[in-house]
């Protein structure tokens, strides 16, 4: 098969040397065929990804009335505003804290589920996935009621212990805590299911070898489980970091960015200044600011993944 390909290639090259490239030759090339076969997907990506991306870059360079090109003007304006830097800080705290705890809780729960006998495991897996499969707009509404300062289940329960009432969504510290908590609740099952799959792919014999080598449970996790799951952990964390950075619905429903913009993250603030504040170019600039932050994170995380590639 390979020989034939080489011969074809040589024939094409020879023909090209003799006379100018004809249309038939171009169409007959493997690369041309491959291009046409992937063209539908290229068009789809161009339509759904490239066009909006390029358009938002274009928007970010216009003035508020979208009539005049202002270059980096919107960005320079943002850099001078305290609220913007607070949103950057809050977005980073929100994303990093939420991803860290989602990963930690997902890892611990995955271990528990992994150790449940196979018979009952399906049931638990299904139940633990519920937060992730309920549309977040709906489940966040339920959380909104749970956080209600006057009549909520949380404050009612805490009152038995002499605590509260806590102004969950009105106090800036508690409000930040609440939006992160709901994000963790919503996202941890995704980590759990990914880690569970990774755990199942670690051969039992490695644990047995480690047990004979003298490893206790913690050393087995540290020296066997974590190194074997490094790639999954890295990819899951990156994926979740992107999604969490871009989160909108939870903050929007719970606090709308309040109190006093203290819980705003990029997406909600972009929505506020862009849609509610009728300054779409400025909103686009806020959204675009996520790109370099995520790109740096992605480069660092994926660099190690490709380096470790096929270790096993």
């Amino acid at each position: 098969m390979a020989d034939v390909v080489v011969e074809q290639g040589q024939a094409v090259r020879a023909a090209r040397a003799r006379k100018p490239t004809s249309l038939r030759n171009v169409l007959g090339r493997k690369s041309t065929v491959a291009f046409f076969l992937t063209l539908p997907l290229i068009l789809l990506i161009a339509l759904l990804v490239l066009y909006p991306a390029v358009y938002s870059v274009h928007l970010a360079t216009l003035n508020k009335s979208m009539q005049k090109f202002v270059g980096f003007g919107n960005f320079l304006f943002l850099f001078k505003r305290d609220t913007f830097w607070m949103v950057v800080k809050q977005s980073c705290i929100f994303a990093v804290t939420a991803v860290f705890f989602k990963a930690l809780i997902g890892f611990i729960v995955a271990h528990f589920v992994h150790n449940i006998p196979a018979k009952g495991q399906r049931k638990w897996r299904g139940m633990l996935l519920v937060p992730w499969v309920i549309p977040p707009a709906m489940s966040t509404l339920a959380w909104l009621w749970l956080f209600d300062p006057s009549y909520s289940a949380f404050n009612y329960t805490l009152s038995f212990f002499g605590i509260g009432p806590i102004n969950w969504l009105g106090d800036n510290v508690w409000a930040r805590f609440s939006v992160i908590l709901v994000n963790i609740w919503y996202g941890a099952p995704f980590f759990m299911i990914m880690y569970l799959a990774a755990l199942k792919s670690v051969p039992d014999q490695l644990y047995e070898a480690a047990a004979i080598d003298g490893a206790n449970w913690w050393q087995k996790i540290w020296y066997v489980t974590l190194p074997m799951m490094r790639n999954i952990i890295a990819i899951t964390a990156l994926f979740s970091l992107i999604v969490t950075f871009a989160n909108f619905d939870i903050v929007r429903i719970l606090t709308s960015g309040g109190p006093l913009d203290q819980t705003h993250i990029f997406a909600t603030w972009a929505f506020k200044v862009g849609i509610e504040g009728s300054d779409i170019p400025l909103g686009a600039s806020v959204s675009l600011f996520m790109v370099p932050i995520l790109a740096v994170a992605a480069i660092f995380i994926l660099r190690d993944v490709s380096k470790r590639g096929n270790e096993a």
Binding site: P203, Q205, L206, E208, A209, A210, A211, I212, D213, G214, A215, N216, Q219, Y223, V224, P227, M228, R230, R308, N310, E311, A312
Partner: protein, 366 residues
């Protein structure tokens, strides 16, 4: 180093008894091979010695101490797995030193032990590689190295050569034997390959259906099998089992195989089998090498008969011949120059001095 003893060891999985009351004494420095077909309980037995499986009943002793409830790490054993079980993210040196590092050995001693083990196994050049960069045979050496550096009381091998190709398997078999000759650690080795068992073991333990069928040196098992299972399991091609009965004809004891084939038993055999009831259903057990071509100078106790060969298999140094005796398939081994051809008649000689007589119902060798 230490001796290992199993006392009435039982392993149950729910209602199924995988190991049914095993008694076994393994002496210090001894190389014991557990052999048997799939599902006979040999791997389970090994894993119980390792502490990777709990025992349902009985006692396991290592160096005189009962270790039933001792975790694997405190049993001072090392195990080599079928799939090597090397840590893929560690180099060869890190793999080998892992156990020592966990026990906080001094760095200099770890290095010395790893270097020595690597030299012994001829893997010094591979010490900085990851398992992915090694061939199957090299990985197996590293797995053995990991066991050796620990200097344990007992080595446990769980079918370590099953994943290697035939040629490499022979090489590694010799390596394992050499290593054992050097380190002299008590070794329990599990395999389903009877050739491995015969070539490596000081004593072989043949297991079947969760029980020990027979324990003995390779020679004992081959020449004096206790049961039909052992007789059939050890040896390749397997021993022939031909239905037969004893007859008294004119004061001599005869072995009748078919209506037209009956042999007078040699005196020693006749004396041994004379007390048996003539009504018993018996089987003649005869190995293929004791069914050869007939020639002019046959010794006492060697009887000839004529048959028609079904199939012949030239192996180079010998030719295997297959024929039927009243519907029972029989295999013999003849000289490649004896003229054996498919479908041709041939006169064969049966050496009754090496025959076995078995009770067909109990399977016991009489």
């Amino acid at each position: 180093m230490a001796d290992v003893a199993l006392r009435k060891v039982v392993k149950r999985y729910d209602d199924v008894e995988a190991v049914r009351g095993i008694d076994l004494d393994i002496a210090d420095h001894e190389f014991i091979v557990l052999v048997g077909p799939s599902g006979c309980g040999k791997s389970t037995t090994l894993r119980m010695i390792a502490g990777l499986e709990d025992i349902s009943d009985g006692d396991i002793m290592i160096g005189g101490d009962v270790v039933n409830d001792v975790p694997p790490k405190d049993r001072d054993i090392a195990m080599v797995f079928q799939n090597y079980a090397l840590y893929p993210h560690m180099t060869v040196a890190e793999n080998m030193s892992f156990g020592l590092r966990l026990k906080h050995y001094p760095k200099a001693e770890i290095k010395a032990r790893v270097t020595e083990a690597a030299r012994l196994l001829d893997i010094t050049d591979l010490i900085d590689r990851k398992p992915k960069q090694l061939s199957g045979g090299q990985r197996q050496r590293v797995a053995m190295g990991r066991a050796i550096v620990r200097n344990p009381k007992v080595f446990l091998f769980d079918e370590p050569l099953s994943n290697l190709d035939a040629k490499l398997r022979v090489q590694m078999r010799i390596e394992i034997k050499k290593v054992h000759q050097k380190v002299r650690t008590t070794t329990v080795y599990v395999t389903h390959d009877q050739v491995e068992a015969m070539t490596l073991a000081d004593r072989v333990v043949v297991m079947n259906k969760g029980r020990i069928e027979q324990i003995g040196t390779p020679n004992e098992l081959y020449h004096k099998p206790a049961t039909r299972f052992v007789a059939g399991f050890i040896g390749s091609p397997a021993m022939n089992f031909i239905p037969c009965r004893l007859e008294d004809v004119g004061g001599t004891l005869q072995l009748r195989l078919t209506d037209r084939i009956a042999f007078a038993l040699p005196p020693a055999r006749a004396a041994r089998y004379n007390a048996l009831p003539r009504t018993d259903k018996l089987l003649l057990g005869i190995r293929p090498e004791h069914l050869t071509e007939s020639h002019a100078h046959l010794g006492p106790g060697v009887e000839t008969f004529d048959t028609v060969l079904d199939v012949t298999e030239p192996m180079g140094m010998e030719t295997l011949v297959y024929f039927g005796l009243d519907g029972t398939p029989v295999c013999g081994r003849v000289d490649p120059n004896a003229g054996a051809t498919d479908g041709a008649p041939m006169r064969l000689a049966m050496d009754l001095n090496n025959m076995h007589l078995l009770n067909e119902e109990t399977g016991i060798v009489l």
